[in-house]
């Protein structure tokens, strides 16, 4: 798994890639928490364009970060999930709290 962070105007863009499952959940959670502890992050964008597989343990990590960000009034959104990943997100109900956008730029515009 490759994890990439970019902070733009207090919005943290998180780019994930590869197969995301229980084997990556702790690493993802710890990495995200470390960045959220160290930086002033208001909003979160999860770019899932390169994610080929996603299971429920990752959904738990995403929702956990949503809870942290939304507590302070911030937004979390999802960018470009592939169809099989999108289906999982849809079934989970996560789209009810995290808006989906077709690109990082559009997501940034809507969040700001």
């Amino acid at each position: 798994m490759h994890l990439d962070f970019e902070l733009k105007d207090n919005t943290l863009i998180v780019r994930l890639s590869g197969d995301m499952d229980l084997g990556k959940a702790d690493y993802l959670r710890n990495s995200l928490e470390a960045v959220l502890d160290q930086q002033q992050v208001n909003n979160l964008i999860f770019n899932l364009a390169q994610v080929t597989f996603l299971d429920s343990s990752i959904l738990g990590v995403l929702l956990g970060r949503y809870k942290r960000i939304s507590k302070k009034g911030g937004k979390v959104c999802i960018v470009e999930p592939q169809p099989q990943v999108r289906r999982i997100l849809e079934m989970s109900g996560l789209f009810q709290v995290m808006e989906e956008f077709p690109g990082e730029d559009i997501a940034l515009k809507n969040i700001g």
Partner: protein, 149 residues
């Protein structure tokens, strides 16, 4: 039903083996004529069951074993995923959507197994491990063409 192939896997209860298990079962299943989308669904179901054995059954202890038995008949894959972990107090409750004994989790594992496979059966008793039996037919999602006249 006559089987055409069988396999048995046994591996340690470590998170890295979730990927190993799903890829192996999907490769085995691809001996039948599943669509790519079917194989994706099988992968999710296997990941969820194996993940549950690791996280809940063995409470993340890495030195226990999980076993998978898979059988192919002409048109069906049956998967049995078994752990010797702590078992489930109330299976009926555990199967309900959004039920989880862990606050960080969504309680969707069984929902995905149920949605993506044609059958799901869970046998478990506290202290006696858990056995998840799932099956999926080939072409189950394709409507049967009626030839009645």
């Amino acid at each position: 039903m006559q089987f055409i192939n069988q396999m048995k896997l046994k591996f340690l209860s470590i998170p890295a083996n979730v990927a190993f298990a799903r890829v192996t079962v999907a490769a085995f299943a691809s001996q039948l004529d599943y669509t790519l989308s079917d194989l994706e669904e099988i992968k999710v179901a296997v990941s969820e069951a194996v993940g549950n054995s690791i996280v809940h059954g063995y409470d993340q202890a890495p030195d226990y074993y999980i076993e998978i038995f898979a059988t192919l008949t002409a048109d069906t894959l049956e998967i049995r995923i078994k752990d010797d972990g702590k078992g489930i107090e109330n299976v009926e409750k555990a199967l309900q959507p959004a039920f989880s004994t862990d606050a960080e989790r969504l309680g969707l594992g069984f929902v995905f197994m149920h949605s993506f496979m044609d059958s799901l059966k869970v046998e478990s008793q506290p202290g006696n491990g858990t056995l998840v039996i799932m099956s999926k037919r080939v072409g189950a999602s394709i409507a049967q063409i009626s030839t009645e006249q």
